[in-house]
Symmetry: D2
Subunit: 360 residues, 4 copies
């Protein structure tokens, strides 16, 4: 009884290391990259618990729901936490970060989510990174919803810990993830007696036993199928070209926004420059009801109401991975038009024009 | 660019829950089962860190290398630890466990590895379970190397925490794993303020947000490919029948042992009843050298030298999953005979007779 | 760059032969089975061109579109052809076949389609087989649309050439197919100087070089992926049980017919006993338009208008393979109700009752 | 019960057509390409039976075993056949073809195998094509063993019928194949009353119903898995680049030949320019015995004895697809050295030097 998911030849350490190198190439980073054997929450938690400890002070920038999660881990690790929250329909600005750092010179760790799939905004990481570097704090970036969708240059931007997953714009698996770690981040982890060690959460284990050991033996059996799927999506990105992939996401965002406006629907994030290319959020009354109607018209449209309280006023149009495509944008706009009893023709024309202009 | 590992329709929560139920059926358990999204070390660590805390006392039975890992986690969690170690070529006995428990009535947690793939022994869990239950301690069993290879009856044996992975006798993936949790284990976790919560290590998160929430939403995106591979190996086991699968492993063990004796090689674990059906260990001088010669003769033979210091005196013949098959046993014996400059014919005849007798 | 469809270890002849044996088991036949490396039209054409020749006379029973194809091949091979056509909304009867045979004693070949997916009828093969056997002609049955959906007993029914494909009720691939061949069919082929030899169309090549050669070498590289998919669908049928699979198809047929009647729509094939379990055809005015509306309401519903002129008056509801399931039947009825501006509730209730009664 | 080979969404006609276009791009042809739903013998037979008929005269160039097969089909179709056979250790020359054509001006069809995997030679198709074009005959080329391994330019070379399969240098599936067809070949087929029509062998069916019908409907359900595998191997070739793939095969050939010579073994095809890049044949006494010894030393080495009588004097070293790699060449040479009780070190050094020089 054959099954292509079973009886695979074991993933060799050389093969594992080659996938690691390809993730590093995708990120354009010269730092160490660790492919963590779990969803991206695993390395995010591992980074925070390795870096934070009693006595440290963290600036936690909250531009969406994950900021709350990071704050919990930081407090749980004993750090003092300064939360810098901005409304979910906007981005944080570098000057705001600079002010927060200036007020608390002891801040030694900054956490930021690059793009928020849940709320549809994206933050100016390059500028923020400059401010954080000038201050001297360690800088952790959650790039799960930006990698593949928009430019991501961790080394140029001074990111010490850049966490990615493949399940959004990369069109890949969710079961493994990766983090790039700067030398000074490794040093900070090593000096922290409370950093996870000999633990599934530990990044230091990977440093000491995998990287420093010459990549001869993995810590445990890897999630082989997820690793192969990660490699397959990297292959596919190589065929299209990374700039082609990000351009496609930018076009999907521009087309969705243009189409929504033509339908009389306001983008939730007003400024184009602050709109995340993975997903477009829209401000609509009775959002859950409208989404239900739209899905009745087209059950395959990648639409969702906002999570929690946002379900009353926000619709999320996902356009990442294979869904960053003009036919999918068209299908979403058509379903929304039907749900709103509107004529879709102008929206479709606007979307197509915006798509073409973006890819020009 | 198509790839069967990419662009899969999302794994629904109903599908996830159905795989969970099938794991529970495989274990014949009425307890809750959690499919943890990482290698089996994840739930093992999660169990220990959830159960142990300052003030608790653990009996850690050490019959192979994993016992050391468990002891480290127990100490790290603040528990007092009594290590009960037996030589790696034998099993622990229920009376020995009873004595250890009698000496320290405050013991409230017992950890045991069922079968040791690394050393080739297996322990009498039914008898030990009876002793532990009489004492009243929580009982954690690492059944990764026994599930599918030998009888495993966690409920009948009083196991509170039974951890499995699919990568050995089940012939499945390593990237997800599972644990069955008794009601009193859940209660113990809930009372432990230091138990991991809101963490990748947390089992309580699964209890509170997945199980008690009616299995409506997962904690995060699952390792979908590993889940599908787990389901596929359960399908395959259903076709063969679980008793057929375990009988095949028992036959492989019997055949390997008989063949080795005919080659003049002593089993590392002298007693048949203490020999693990997943792997047969052999006592051979210069084991690493002999393994190198055997692999030169047949690079595909599932042979390895013992880990660490055992590499001087132990050869491990793996026969789990698809390798629990007479042709594989034959190939291993042939390669060993070549490495030892011995005639394989008697060994092969003995192995075949033992295989047939075991399956009779 | 990994891909599970590439770099597979070669399919061994033993493995190929084992799949062949499993097809024979599925058919319950003791005749030779050949797995032909192409769609089922390949062995159907191979059978006819091997059996028919100038001087032979064939009775070609036409109960759907494939009958025309068979007639063309028969004439092309130089045989005299008697077409026995019945309206597409009914089955042919054994007495009608008997009369046709009695009129032309020289008939030495009879071709019949068991079930017609295109028109939704099915024929009483057991009774017809008895008549054909009494007459002495060679009997070819196209069972592509019946295998897995309804009882199929080629040996008991006196079928000399039983052709199947896996793409309908078996839920498998279309790229390989199979035919069972009786001893007297082989003898007939061998005596025919015009039978294809050394040809992709040749069945005699398989007999002489594969079967009589002891199944040591295939004629050419096989369609390996299709072979593995065929094996996988046989595995799945084994898990469910063949009678379970056919019962599910019968229930889908009963439920669809009951639901249609409740919607005020007449089955195209009036008699239940003549209705094919793979697909239910319905008599509806402006069928193409109604189907378009139904698919607008639910693009995933397995509905189609009849082919050619039937598109004006026939809708086909497919319910084979994974679609032989109550939720799919419900979805089809709901979409049809929407297209007809009818209330679906009574239809759904009738369908569910019929489903339950059929599986009782 | 999930299986990645089952329950795939149907292959759309657009998708099928896109794979067809990609094959045309690979061949750099502006002619029609048909992806035939069977092994490459299917289109080869289809071409010959469509082009040849009583009254036509064919020049059948025989440089390996397939030439015999082609001759049989040509004679079977009623054509007069001129066989131009050359010894299997050499190539046919363009002047020899010119002479044969000059002797029989009525020749209207020429069949040639580009590279012979079975005998290891390759023919100068560009020069031969020029001669055939000057003569005016239809030119059929079997390029199964050359596509991906060496330059293949059917349009520039005047090939009217170029047949390929993906199972050799392309590293793809064997179950579908393809043929490019020139306008004048279509015309010839159309004028041949005996050309297969309404048949699995028919190429005209594809022309009339698929191509001329605007590629709206396939002739029958396709071999979907094989089609997807074909697409996947085209993707992989696109990543490496076609010239990279052919360069790798050339390097494998050069390295194998250099290594063999260093071992004291003569290439079966003496001239480098006549050696096929897919496989290197060697002249060795008692070839079958030597191969048996070599495979005992390394069962995974892609070595075989020559077929039939060649088994006494020829060894074939395959190096196509994933095996066109330096480690595989090294493994073959090491196993051969062991079988010949020779020291492999010089052979390995020569092979590595030749590999490097070829890729320089």
């Amino acid at each position: 009884m054959n099954h292509p998911f079973l009886d695979l030849p074991p993933l060799t350490v050389e093969h594992f290391a080659s996938i690691e190198r390809r993730v590093a190439e995708l990120l354009g980073t010269r730092q160490d990259v660790v492919i963590t054997q779990g969803e991206a929450l695993l390395p995010l938690e591992g980074c925070i618990r390795s870096a934070a400890r009693p006595g440290s002070t963290a600036l936690n920038i909250v531009t969406g729901p994950y900021g709350t999660t990071f704050g919990n881990w930081l407090r749980d690790s004993g750090a003092a936490v300064v939360d810098l929250a901005v409304p979910f329909d906007t981005a944080v600005s570098a000057p705001a970060v600079a002010r927060a750092l200036a007020e608390r010179p002891e801040i030694d760790f900054v956490s930021l989510v690059h793009a928020e799939a849940a709320t549809g905004n994206t933050n100016p990481v390059a500028e923020i990174g400059e401010v954080v570097r000038a201050h001297g704090a360690l800088f952790m970036l959650d790039a799960v919803a930006s990698v593949g969708a928009e430019p991501l240059l961790p080394d140029a931007w001074g990111v010490d810990l850049c966490v990615i997953g493949a399940q959004k714009a990369m069109g890949g698996p969710a079961g493994v993830s990766a983090v790039s770690v700067s030398e000074r981040a490794w040093a900070r982890f090593a000096q922290n007696p409370a950093a996870p060690r000999r633990s599934y959460l530990s990044l230091l284990d990977w440093k000491e036993r995998w990287i420093d050991g010459g990549r001869k033996a993995l810590l445990h059996a890897p999630a082989q199928l997820e690793m192969l799927a990660l490699e397959a999506c990297l292959d596919r990105i190589a065929v299209e070209g990374l700039t082609g992939v990000t351009a496609r996401h930018a076009a999907a965002s521009a087309a969705t926004r243009a189409g929504a406006v033509a339908l009389g629907v306001a983008p939730y994030v007003p400024l184009d420059a602050q709109a995340a290319p993975v997903a477009t959020t829209l401000r609509v009354a009775d959002a859950s009801l409208v989404v239900a109607r739209a899905l009745a018209a087209d059950p395959a449209a990648p639409l969702a109401a906002g999570g929690g309280a946002l379900g009353r006023e926000m619709i999320r149009v996902n356009h990442y991975g294979a869904d960053a495509a003009l036919p999918v944008v068209r299908a979403c706009l058509t379903a929304l038009a039907e749900a709103l009893s509107a004529d879709p023709s102008e929206a479709l024309a606007s979307a197509e024009a915006a798509w073409a202009a973006a890819l020009h």
